[in-house]
């Protein structure tokens, strides 16, 4: 075979196969950089990145590459905050379906599939917590909130409790996969964060003017159920150890 013919064949093969790895690398790098900055502008860019990765996923002929693109899209939509809220669910639904289509389902790409499945409840908890933080800021010098906040605060608690249930439900699958221990520990940490935010929402309910003690106590029982689930998995429930501000130490 002549050198020219060989080059031609190689070019045809490369073009036909497509090199998804390069695109994935580029998207992953952008995701890291934008997440680190965490500004309103970058959050908008993260939403755009999520959409781009979602499009790449749909276009990818390789099932594992498709899942990898969905993982980037899901994390980007989650990190985009309010700008990505409408994107998260469609992306994670499509990503979960892509995982189900893999030869060994989630075991074929354990980290990517686990992240895709965790992204929706974690993004929802972030959204709920942002609302919680806003209400926390409204507590006056008397230490009380107006009674109009009774229902919103209770809904925040309900929502966080639901997300805690979802992530706890995914935990069994995560621990059964060949995932790094870091990932498993991180899953437990996210459960603890949701739990602590739930505790804060419940506590905030006690600060609302005219909060009925019966409802407060009933919510305390539900909070205890979450405590018990965490402790059954060997997790200490000391919320003082979770910092209030988001930190970013990715390198």
């Amino acid at each position: 075979m002549s050198p020219n013919l060989r080059a031609l064949v190689l070019a045809v093969v490369l073009a036909a196969s497509g090199c998804a790895g390069a695109s994935l690398d580029s998207l992953d790098t952008k995701l890291r950089d934008l997440s680190k900055q965490n500004t309103p502008a970058t959050r908008a860019q993260l939403a755009a990145l999520a959409a781009e990765a979602q499009a790449d996923a749909k276009a990818s002929p390789d099932p594992k590459n498709r899942v990898a693109f969905y993982r980037v899209a899901a994390v980007a939509a989650w990190q985009a905050g309010p700008a990505g809220e409408t994107l998260v669910l469609p992306i994670t639904d499509e990503g979960a379906a892509a995982c189900d289509a893999l030869p060994a389902k989630d075991a074929s790409a354990p980290r990517d599939c686990s992240l895709i499945r965790l992204a929706a409840p974690l993004a929802t908890q972030d959204a709920l917590t942002r609302k919680l933080m806003v209400i926390q800021g409204q507590v006056g010098s008397s230490g009380k909130l107006p009674s109009a906040q009774l229902e919103p605060v209770q809904q925040l608690f309900d929502g966080l409790e639901t997300q805690f249930d979802k992530v706890s439900g995914l935990r069994g699958g995560v621990f059964a996969l060949d995932l790094p221990e870091d990932f498993k520990a991180r899953t437990d940490r996210e459960r603890l964060i949701i739990y602590c935010n739930g505790v804060k929402a419940w506590s905030l309910y006690g600060d609302v003017e005219g909060a009925p003690a019966a409802t407060f106590n009933a919510m305390a029982q539900r909070k205890k159920q979450m405590t018990d689930r965490l402790e059954a998995d060997g997790i200490a429930t000391d919320c003082r150890t979770i910092p209030a501000t988001q930190s970013f130490d990715a390198t």
């Binding site: 980037v72 942002r130 506590s203």
Partner: protein, 610 residues
């Protein structure tokens, strides 16, 4: 240029490029990726207080609770210092609660803060890495190429064909898709597995490339399939070496032995023609080994010993295998192994193991040396081999199972037990009729001696002494049938020979009780052995007199022992034996001798033996 080479090159290039892209994509997919941390609201002091008190310690905040004055409804009461008091109380309660929950790890859940980068797979898990995929793909392409063009190696001849076939087989087991190569852990071991399988498959498919002889090719074809089946069929499959070992020891070994048994002449030479005694015997042995395995009935060493002994018989006396009308030699040989195995299976321990086989070997050696003259003329001789061994074993069982003394096992080692048995077998072989007509005379002799041996609770005799006594007992009993043992079933042991030995052991026991060596006693060791031998020889020819004067005989031994013990300066072992030998005849014919005077003793010791 060869057009097929060009096509092959293009295909290889395409595959390599495709695999390269896949490997690159895998690298990108599996590298560490971002796992962000969730948003967390501020956890205030009041949140900690509420979380600690509710719901488990809520009673402390109401009624007469310790902190009731600081609490109102769902929040701290508006009293000075309420928040501080509640917080201190909460910290204390929380610490106490945590101490009770020992299974909870304080670090769990908080050890990783902020966003982290996490890999796709746990260490050691996951598919073969990108570099491994490329190397394996290149190797596969190379193997495919060599398989298609083995002449490239320049080996020539059968070696070229063999390598070509091996390369093709190996290439078939390496998947074209790198994703199907299995996990990266234990890749090397899996590769060894498929390499082994490919090699063996090549041999199995084309044994003619390695060996020319048909029978060896047949051996390869019959032996390899079970081993090949136990090896992994592809790179993704994990090797199960236990299965391979099982296949080697089980079906493969059985197939190999069957192949040799089917054609012993080809494998072992003309000497092993099944129509000859040695060939028939060997074929029978191999068939037994192939169907039941060597270790089911015998140990490996035991079987080989038995086979060697049977070979000795076949070589020295082929007519024993070939001369029976209607019974083929290999059938006769099979029966021999089966009968011996069957006999020993039911034998008393420890003769149900190699010890029993050693006895059967002794019988076969005797057959080889003395011929079949001690067998019944009618009936199969091969049955008698087991019977003869069993008679000795059953006789020894009497002494082996004595619960009081621990039996003769405490006197003799296993090897000495075989020596003892051999002594009786040798005598039986020299004595036509001892086994004839279903006679159990041999068993009675062995049992009588064994029972007496079991009485030697003080270990007054060494194993060699007992072997010498057994030899004399067997010889005397054989020469004087129905006298020493089983002469009179009314006597306690039914055997005067046994009683005489036991009486002498009893006298020796008294000697020992009186101080033994220190007390001047001599009736132990060689003296006791010779005394027993003298007594047995005398009793063999005077059985009735011995029975009638058993007490007087024992009295003679007691008298002599007392004499020697009380006059150590005058009499010793030699004198004891001389007096015993001289006086035993008198006792047998005249009863108790009464007290011995010094003059009488001197006369006996100085004069000729009476």
């Amino acid at each position: 240029m060869d057009p097929t080479l060009i096509i092959f090159g293009i295909r290889a290039l395409i595959r390599l490029a495709r695999e390269g892209i896949s490997a690159f994509n895998q690298f990108e997919r599996d590298r560490p990726a971002l796992f962000p941390d969730g948003v967390s609201a501020d956890f205030r002091q009041i949140d900690f207080i509420r979380n600690t008190f509710f719901p488990d310690h809520a009673d402390l905040l109401t009624g007469s609770g310790a902190f009731a004055k600081y609490w109102s409804g769902t929040a701290p009461a508006p009293v000075p210092g309420a928040m501080e008091a509640l917080y201190i109380g909460a910290v204390k309660l929380f610490a106490e609660d945590q101490a009770k929950k020992k299974q909870v790890s304080a670090r769990r859940g908080v050890e990783i803060g902020g966003a982290v980068m996490i890999k796709q797979w746990a260490d050691g898990k996951g598919p073969v890495g990108p570099i491994g995929r490329m190397v394996l793909t290149m190797a596969d392409i190379g193997l495919e190429f060599v398989g298609a063009n083995p002449s490239l190696l320049g080996v020539g001849g059968n070696g070229e064909k063999l390598l070509g076939a091996l390369a093709t087989n190996l290439s078939d087991m390496i998947p074209d898709d790198g994703d199907a190569m299995g996990p990266k852990s234990q890749l090397a071991e899996r590769f060894v597995g498929i390499f082994l399988r490919a090699g063996l498959q090549t041999l199995n498919d084309q044994p003619g490339l390695v060996v020319r002889e048909d029978h060896l090719q047949q051996l390869v074809r019959n032996t390899l399939p079970p081993i090949i089946a136990a090896l992994p069929s592809g790179l993704a499959e994990q090797s199960r070496w236990r299965d391979v070992a099982d296949a080697l020891l089980g079906p493969a070994a059985s197939a190999a032995i069957s192949t040799v048994a089917a054609n012993p002449t080809a494998f072992l030479g003309a000497t092993f023609d099944p129509n000859r005694a040695i060939g028939a015997l060997t074929q029978a042995m191999l068939r037994q080994a192939a169907t039941t395995g060597l270790k089911q009935e015998f140990t490996e060493a035991g079987f080989i010993g038995l086979y060697q002994a049977a070979l000795g018989v076949a070589a020295a006396r082929p007519e024993l295998f070939l001369g029976r009308p209607g019974t083929p030699a290999d059938q006769l040989a099979s029966d021999l192994f089966a009968k011996v195995a069957g006999t020993l299976k039911t034998a008393a321990p420890p003769f149900n193991s190699d010890l029993g086989t050693a006895l059967a070997v002794d019988v076969l050696d005797t057959v080889k040396q003395d011929g079949p003259r001690f067998f019944e003329k009618e009936g199969p001789w091969e049955n008698t081999v087991g019977t003869m061994a069993l008679q000795v074993i059953d006789g020894l069982k009497v002494g082996l199972t004595d619960p009081a003394s621990g039996g003769i096992k405490s006197v003799l080692s296993q090897q000495q037990l075989v020596e003892l048995a051999r002594t009786f077998l040798a005598q039986a072989a020299k004595t036509p009729g001892m086994l004839a007509g279903g006679s159990t005379e041999l068993q009675a002799i062995v049992g009588g001696v064994a029972k007496a041996m079991a009485e030697d609770k003080n270990l007054l005799l060494a194993p060699d002494d007992w072997l010498a006594i057994a030899g004399v007992a067997a010889e005397a009993a054989a020469a004087n049938p129905q006298r020493l043992f089983k002469i009179n079933t009314a006597t306690p042991a039914g055997a005067i020979g046994t009683e005489v030995i036991k009486d002498l052991l009893a006298v020796a026991g008294v000697d020992l009780a009186e101080g033994g060596r220190k007390g001047g006693g001599v009736l132990f060791g060689a003296t006791l052995r010779e005394a027993i031998i003298v007594a047995l020889r005398s009793a063999a020819g005077n059985a009735k007199a011995t029975v009638d004067n058993q007490a007087a005989l024992k009295g003679l031994a007691e008298t002599l022992s007392d004499l020697v013990r009380t006059h150590p300066e005058q009499y010793g072992s030699k004198e004891w034996l001389s007096l015993y030998q001289s006086l035993i005849s008198r006792v047998l014919h005249g009863g108790p001798i009464g007290a011995l005077t010094e003059a009488e003793i001197r006369k006996i010791l100085e004069g000729p033996v009476a």
